[in-house]
């Protein structure tokens, strides 16, 4: 191979189906485990969070209005796209210092996890919906519906598998989300945005920001138009802060602390979908 200068990618954010830079135009350095520079990532601000929430809110009606079958197909399509770009993600993970074997396993598990949740979209309401035999002359049924806009705080471990594990159950039911990517290695998350973009996921359903968590987390968890929070960072102070901010508008706050993102038992279950669904019960008289 002749010496050829490689074209490096500029990592941006993924908001509203586009790839804007942070409005601050600030970046920070992402380094590998040996502290060698890999890339510059956007250092997003409160305003970026605000824009992302607006994008997520405007995508909600459309995404939650899709048929469950269609959402399943879209999730499956994400898996297909990821499969096709497997090498890219393996390389990207490798650059952060993990072994090629570990990187391959992470990408493959991510793909399979998407498939797992793709299959739930049109089953969740069958398994968790009910027809309730009320004592009066009424037909009464309860169905789970998506909660709305979910703020997701991702952990720093296994940066691709963790965000896939957080994103898939949240969007499977029709929620939209704003995800704060891993602070130490946001690059796979940003690249995953490209996968989403190529996968029929409507713009705004998933919005991905990078930057310093401390600078974004309040804006996200206090935001009055965010209905729920999913936090996966195991940190006492952050947890308390997120909980307290959630109380401002009675947000559904869920913490998931994961030591091993490859653990299917913990991370592949419908209850993670149900955490961000609301049961709606409808009554109607029965008579002629």
């Amino acid at each position: 191979m002749t010496d050829r200068l490689e074209i490096l990618k500029t990592y941006k954010t993924y908001v509203g189906g586009a790839f804007p830079r942070s409005e601050s135009e600030r970046t920070y350095q992402v380094t590998n485990q040996k502290s060698v520079h890999i890339a510059n990532a956007c250092r997003c601000t409160r305003k970026d969070v605000r824009n992302a929430v607006v994008a997520a809110r405007s995508a909600f009606d459309g995404w939650s209005g899709r048929s469950a079958y269609n959402r399943g197909q879209v999730l499956y399509r994400i898996a297909e796209m990821l499969e096709g770009r497997k090498d890219q993600f393996v390389k990207e993970l490798e650059s952060s210092g993990v072994s090629i074997k570990q990187a391959s396993r992470e990408v493959e598990t991510s793909i399979d996890r998407l498939i797992y949740y793709a299959g739930w979209t049109d089953k969740i309401s069958q398994v968790f919906g009910t027809v309730n035999p009320v004592a009066s002359s009424h037909f009464n049924f309860s169905l789970p519906e998506p909660t709305g806009v979910v703020g997701v705080i991702s952990s720093d471990d296994t940066p691709l598998l963790s965000i896939v594990s957080l994103i898939a159950p949240v969007i499977a039911s029709g929620n939209t989300l704003v995800l704060l990517a891993s602070e130490t290695n946001p690059l796979p998350a940003i690249s995953f945005g490209e996968v989403l973009h190529a996968s029929d996921v409507p713009g705004g359903v998933v919005n991905i920001l990078s930057g310093y968590r401390d600078e974004m987390v309040n804006a996200l968890t206090e935001h009055m138009d965010v209905n729920a929070i999913l936090n996966s960072v195991s940190n006492e102070n952050l947890r308390k802060q997120v909980d307290e901010n959630g109380a401002i508008s009675v947000k559904r706050v869920s913490h998931i602390f994961v030591t091993n993102w490859f653990d299917n038992e913990q991370l592949e279950q419908p209850y993670l979908i149900l955490d961000f669904m609301e049961t709606k019960t409808t009554w109607h008289p029965v008579g002629v």
């Binding site: 009066s136 002359s137 009424h138 008289p285 029965v286 008579g287 002629v288």
Partner: protein, 302 residues
């Protein structure tokens, strides 16, 4: 009085049956005690169309019926008479004679009661016959077959023709709600009857089950209410058949009171078509006065 345009009867006014039943059930929990109970029992008595409509009716039976109608219970002389007796056309003259000098009206069924299965001309003749015999009120039946096949103009025209044949006699239009089945049909038939000139609308002949029910009555009262709001005309209501107990009669009065108000709590605008109700009301009235529960054997059975 406002001029009223005749509505398009092919349009259905939505009614929710469960909601109607819930409303009735709630109204049935009204507690009628003490003074309000005595008042209501006497009021109900004064609203009765004391009825005999059997093939075996004889002049003797009708005369007995009339004497009960005039003076329901001799030991309590200040009780009201019932509103009317209701008989077949060939008993009208007997009843008329027996009731002479009293306030009790004679009502006659007509128009091929109870089925109505004959030609208009025959119905008109029968109506005129009953009126000629002295009937103050005519209880006609509608042609349910025509109604159920959607021939609403037929129903309207037939009622209007009979009304004309009634002359000064009042017309009660029997919808035979047990055959109409749905409350929407009941509402529609009520509206047609009122627009065609009914003085009263009435649930049933008593020959078909179910006869009067409270949900049906409530829907008809609401039709009367809307007709009044629209036209300013006050139409009467008569549930008939199956009302045997004083307690039920009071429940009906509660429906009237809370739907149409005090103005309709009069025999001029509300009647019970019944036969055995009279004695149950009397037993309750005597019980209220004496404090002792009564036996039917102490009340004349006619």
């Amino acid at each position: 009085m406002k001029t009223v345009s005749i509505p398009d009867f092919s349009r259905t006014i939505p009614i929710d049956k469960v909601g109607v039943e819930e409303r009735v059930k709630k109204l049935n929990t009204r507690s009628i005690k003490k003074e309000s109970k005595i008042q209501a029992l006497k009021l109900a008595l004064s609203m009765i169309d004391h009825t005999t409509l059997e093939g075996k009716d004889s002049p003797g039976k009708v005369i007995q019926l009339c004497s009960k109608a005039k003076k329901p219970y001799a030991p309590i002389p200040d009780l009201p008479s019932v509103a009317a007796v209701c008989v077949y056309p060939n008993m009208v003259s007997v009843a008329k004679k027996a009731l002479k000098g009293s306030t009790v009206k004679v009502a006659s069924v007509a128009t091929a009661f109870p089925s109505g299965m004959t030609q208009l001309q025959v119905k008109l003749d029968e109506t005129r016959f009953a009126v000629d015999q002295g009937a103050d009120e005519i209880d006609m039946v509608i042609s349910r077959g025509e109604f159920l096949r959607g021939n609403y103009p037929f129903i309207f025209d037939e009622i209007a023709s009979i009304k004309e044949a009634c002359g000064d006699s009042h017309l009660k239009v029997i919808l035979e709600t047990g055959e109409l089945e749905t409350l929407e049909n009941v509402r529609k038939a009520s509206d047609i009857a009122m627009h065609a000139g009914a003085d009263f609308i009435k649930t049933s002949t008593g020959k078909v089950s179910p006869a009067a029910t409270q949900p049906v009555t409530l829907v008809m009262l609401e039709a009367i209410r809307d007709f009044y709001l629209e036209t300013g005309q006050m139409v009467g209501m008569k549930p008939a058949g199956g009302i045997r107990k004083a307690k039920e009669a009071l429940q009906y009065l509660v429906l009237v009171k809370e739907t149409l108000g005090a103005a309709w709590l009069t025999p001029d605008l509300f009647r019970f078509g019944a036969s055995s109700l009279t004695n149950d009301l009397l037993m309750q009235i005597v019980k209220q006065q004496t404090g002792v529960y009564q036996s039917i054997h102490y009340f004349s059975n006619d």
